[in-house]
C-alpha cells in the first residue's frame, strides 16, 4: 500500500459526488432505505465491543462478575469511576502510563527529524547510490521486527541499554524510519523543482532550503507521519515486551500481567485498556484526516 501513497495522500475518500453508485441503482429508493438501515446496523455492530468495554470499566468488580455490562440499562446506578481512581492511584500503573509518553514522544520526534533530513537528501541532493538507497528503504518497509529482536537485545545488553526507555525508543526509531522516509520522500519529490532551484540561485545552502522551503511546504505530510508514528509507538506491545523492564514498561506491558485471571479481572483490565485507549482515541478523533492518510500510505509495516 505504501506504493500508492502518492495517489491517495490527499484525496482521502470523501463521498458526496453526485455519481450513481454501483449497487444503489439496483435497489432504487426503497432499497436505499433498506441499505442505510443495514449499514447503520453494521456500524452499531462495530461499536458494541468498544461500548461493552467502556461500560465494564465503569462498573466495579462485583457488578462485573455478577452480570454482563448490558444490564447497565436497567441498573444505571452501578456506574462508577472507582476503577479509574484505583488504577490511577496504583503507582506502577500510573508510572507505566507516563512511560508510554516518555517512549512515544521521543520516538516520534526522532523519527520525524531523521526522516525529514534523509528524505531531503534522497529527493533533492544528487549523490552516487541514491537510487539504490531509496530502493533499500522501500524494501525495508515490510521488514518483520522479529529479525532484529535477538541481535538488538544483545547489542543493547552490551551498551547497557537493555531494559531502558532509551533502548525501546531507539528500536522504535529504527523500525519507524523506513516508512517515515518513504512517506516524506514521496512528498518532497513532488515539490516543484522551480521552488528549490530558485532558492539555490539565491545562494541558499541545502540546510536553508530544507528549513525554509521544503519543511513549510511539507507540513501536511509531516503531520500525517507524526500522528501515525505516535500512535504506532503508543500502541506497541512486542517491542516493549522484549526491551523494557519493570520500571520502563509502557501500559500495555504493565497490564499484560493481569491477563491471567481474565474473568475475575475484568474491572482492572477493562479500565486499563480504556486508559491506554484514551490517548489514541482522542488523537484519532481530532486528527483523523491526517491519521487516515498516514495509515493509507503505510500500513505495510
Amino acid at each position: 500500500m505504501t506504493l500508492v501513497a502518492e495517489e491517495v495522500r490527499i484525496e482521502v475518500p470523501v463521498s458526496g459526488s453526485p455519481r450513481r453508485g454501483v449497487l444503489s441503482r439496483v435497489f432504487g429508493r426503497l432499497g436505499n432505505g433498506f441499505m442505510q438501515l443495514f449499514l447503520a446496523v453494521v456500524a452499531v455492530f462495530w461499536l458494541v465491543p468498544v461500548f461493552g468495554l467502556l461500560i465494564a470499566s465503569l462498573r466495579d468488580e462485583q457488578a462485573n462478575t455478577a452480570s454482563g455490562w448490558w444490564t447497565i440499562f436497567t441498573k444505571p446506578a452501578e456506574l462508577t469511576l472507582r476503577n479509574y481512581a484505583e488504577l490511577v492511584a496504583n503507582q506502577a500503573v500510573w508510572q507505566s502510563f507516563l512511560n508510554t509518553f516518555y517512549i512515544a514522544v521521543p520516538a516520534t520526534v526522532l523519527v520525524v527529524v531523521m526522516a525529514s533530513l534523509a528524505s531531503y537528501a534522497l529527493s533533492w541532493i544528487e549523490f552516487p547510490g541514491r537510487e539504490t538507497l531509496t530502493v533499500v528503504v522501500v524494501g525495508l518497509l515490510v521488514m518483520p521486527i522479529q529479525v532484529a529482536l535477538i541481535p538488538v537485545a544483545k547489542l543493547f545488553g552490551a551498551f547497557g541499554l537493555f531494559g531502558t526507555i532509551t533502548g525501546v525508543v531507539l528500536f522504535h526509531v529504527a523500525f519507524g524510519l523506513p516508512f517515515a522516509i518513504f512517506l516524506l520522500r514521496n512528498f518532497f519529490a513532488g515539490i516543484p523543482r522551480d521552488l528549490i532551484e530558485a532558492a539555490r540561485m539565491d545562494g541558499a545552502t541545502e540546510w536553508v532550503i530544507f528549513k525554509r522551503v521544503v519543511l513549510p511546504v511539507a507540513k501536511p505530510a509531516i503531520a500525517s507521519l507524526t500522528i501515525f508514528q505516535f500512535l504506532w509507538v503508543w500502541n506497541d506491545l512486542l517491542v516493549a515486551l522484549v526491551f523494557a523492564d519493570q520500571d520502563s514498561a509502557p501500559i500495555t506491558v504493565a497490564l499484560r500481567a493481569q491477563l491471567r485471571q481474565f474473568g475475575t479481572n475484568i474491572d482492572v483490565l477493562a479500565t486499563g485498556a480504556f486508559l491506554s485507549m484514551i490517548v489514541p482515541l482522542a488523537v484519532f478523533l481530532v486528527f483523523q484526516k491526517y491519521f487516515v492518510q498516514g495509515v493509507l500510505a503505510g500500513s505495510t509495516k
Binding site: F127, I150, G203
Partner: protein, 432 residues
C-alpha cells in the same frame, strides 16, 4: 556549506558530500538496528541455543519437526487463506455500498476507529466479547437468549428421584409399574431450594381417582423431615414433564401443576411405567466455549477482521473514486445491468488497488502476534499459536533458545520477502 550558484542546469543538489549530514543519522540507526541484525540473525540461526556451536541447518530441521511450530505454521496458513480475502471482500462491499450514502464518512470513521487503538486493547475488547460465562460475554449471552426462546432450558438441572427409579437414555423410569387408580409419590432430590419457582405451592398427596393415574412430584428435604414423605413445608415442583410408558411407547404425557401434582386421565387398562424425561434435568445451555481449543483461531480472526475492515474500505473507496465515470456510464448505455457493471467494469478497474490491499493484509497477517498473545488464554495458546508468537516464546518466553528463535525470525523474513519484491517493483514502475 555555502556555495555560489554557478550553474542553472537544474539537477538536484550538486555536491554529493552535502548529502552526508542529512543522511547520516538515519543511516547509522538503520544500519545498526535493522541491517546488522538481519545479517546477525541469519548467521545466528546456524548456531545452537547458546551460540557456541555451529549446527548447520539443524535449527531449521527442528523447526519443521517441532509440534508447536507446525501448529503455528498451520495457523499462519489458515490466517493467510481466510483473513485477507475476507477483509478485502468486506472492504469492497462496504466501499461500494457507502458510495452514495450521505453519512459515508461517518460510517467509514466508525469502522476505521479500531485501527487507532492498540492490538492489545482490541484483544481485551474481544476477550470480553467472547468470554464464556453468559453473564459476562455478550456473544454467549445472545446465544443463550436466542436458544432459550426456542427451547426453554430446564428448571431443575441435576435433580433426580430419591429412589425407585432407574436412569435410562430417555429419562428416569420407575422400577415398579403402575396403573389407573394408583397414586404415585415422586420425591425429587438434588434441587436447590432457591431454584424452586416462586409459584410453587405446598405439596400434598392427591386422592386416588378411578380410571386415573395420579401423582405428585415434590422437593423432598430430608434434613428436617422424613425422606420420601411429604412434610408440612415441602413444596411441589411445577412444570415437570411426566410420561406414561407402555411396552416402550409413550402413551400419555402431562406436566405437573403448581402444587406438583399430575394426572393421567383416560389411561387404558393395564400397567404403565411412569417416566420423567431427561429434558427436565438438563443443564442449561451456556453458549459455546469460544476461547477453547477448537474455536480460538476463528475467534481471533474475527477480531482482526473487526480491526482491518475499515482500513480496506477506506483504501478501496479511494480507488473507487478514481475510476473514470465514463467507463461506467458507457457500460450502462450499452445496456449492462448494475451487477454486470460491477463485475465487468468496476472490479477489473479496481483490481490493482485490491491487489495492494490484499498484499498489505497478507503482510500484516504474517506478523500477527499481539491478538493471539492477548485473546488466547494460556490453555488454548498452543492451539492458536502463530509464527511470530512462537518466535517470541522460543527466544524470550519459556524457550530461551536463540538459535531456534533466529531460525524462526529468518523464516518470517523469507515469508515477507515476496512482498518486499512486490513493493520494490511497484515503486520502480511508478517512478518510470
Amino acid at each position: 556549506m555555502k556555495r555560489l550558484s554557478s550553474s542553472v542546469d537544474a539537477a538536484p543538489g550538486r555536491s554529493p558530500r552535502q548529502a552526508i549530514p542529512f543522511l547520516l543519522p538515519a543511516l547509522v540507526v538503520l544500519a545498526a538496528l535493522v541491517l546488522y541484525p538481519l545479517v546477525f540473525s541469519l548467521i545466528r540461526s546456524f548456531f545452537d541455543a547458546t551460540g557456541d556451536e555451529f549446527v548447520g541447518l539443524s535449527n531449521y530441521v527442528n523447526t519443521f519437526t517441532d509440534k508447536r511450530t507446525l501448529i503455528a505454521f498451520r495457523n499462519n496458513v489458515i490466517w493467510v487463506v481466510v483473513a485477507p480475502a475476507a477483509v478485502t471482500g468486506l472492504g469492497l462491499i462496504f466501499a461500494v455500498l457507502t458510495e452514495r450514502i450521505r453519512w459515508a464518512t461517518a460510517f467509514r470513521l466508525v469502522l476505521f476507529m479500531p485501527m487507532a487503538i492498540s492490538l492489545f486493547a482490541s484483544g481485551i475488547i474481544f476477550r470480553l466479547v467472547y468470554e464464556e460465562a453468559p453473564n459476562q460475554g455478550v456473544v454467549n449471552a445472545v446465544m443463550v437468549g436466542v436458544h432459550d426462546v426456542f427451547s426453554p432450558s430446564s428448571q431443575y438441572p441435576n435433580a433426580r428421584p430419591r429412589s425407585g427409579y432407574t436412569q435410562t437414555e430417555a429419562g428416569f423410569a420407575a422400577d415398579a409399574p403402575a396403573q389407573a387408580g394408583d397414586v404415585i409419590m415422586l420425591p425429587l432430590v438434588g434441587v436447590n431450594a432457591q431454584q424452586v419457582p416462586a409459584q410453587a405451592l405446598p405439596a400434598s398427596t392427591p386422592q386416588a381417582g378411578a380410571g386415573e393415574l395420579r401423582g405428585v412430584v415434590w422437593l423432598d428435604v430430608s434434613l428436617n423431615g422424613n425422606a420420601g414423605k411429604i412434610d408440612g413445608i415441602e413444596r411441589g415442583l411445577p412444570g415437570i414433564a411426566v410420561e406414561a410408558v407402555r411396552d416402550g411407547q409413550v402413551v400419555a404425557r402431562t406436566t405437573t401443576g403448581d402444587d406438583g401434582r399430575f394426572t393421567f386421565p383416560d389411561l387404558a387398562r393395564g400397567e404403565v411405567v411412569v417416566r420423567l424425561p431427561l429434558s427436565n434435568f438438563e443443564l442449561p445451555f451456556r453458549g459455546l466455549t469460544w476461547l477453547g481449543e477448537s474455536l480460538i483461531t476463528p475467534v481471533i480472526i474475527s477480531c482482526w477482521i473487526w480491526i482491518m475492515t475499515g482500513f480496506a474500505i477506506t483504501f478501496i473507496a479511494a480507488g473507487l473514486s478514481a475510476i473514470p465515470r465514463d467507463a461506467l456510464e458507457a457500460a450502462r448505455v450499452d445496456g449492462a445491468t448494475e451487477w454486470q457493471v460491477f463485475r465487468r467494469v468496476t472490479v477489473p478497474l479496481l483490481s490493482p488497488v485490491l491487489l495492494v490491499v490484499f498484499v498489505t493484509l497478507v503482510i500484516n497477517v504474517l506478523k500477527i502476534f499481539e491478538l493471539v498473545f492477548v485473546i488466547a488464554p494460556g490453555s488454548a495458546q498452543e492451539e492458536a499459536n502463530v509464527l511470530a508468537l512462537q518466535m517470541w516464546q522460543v527466544s524470550f518466553g519459556t524457550g530461551g533458545d536463540q538459535g531456534a528463535g533466529s531460525a524462526l525470525a529468518v523464516i518470517l523474513f523469507l515469508l515477507v520477502a515476496p512482498a518486499m519484491l512486490f513493493n520494490i517493483r511497484r515503486f520502480r514502475r511508478e517512478r518510470s
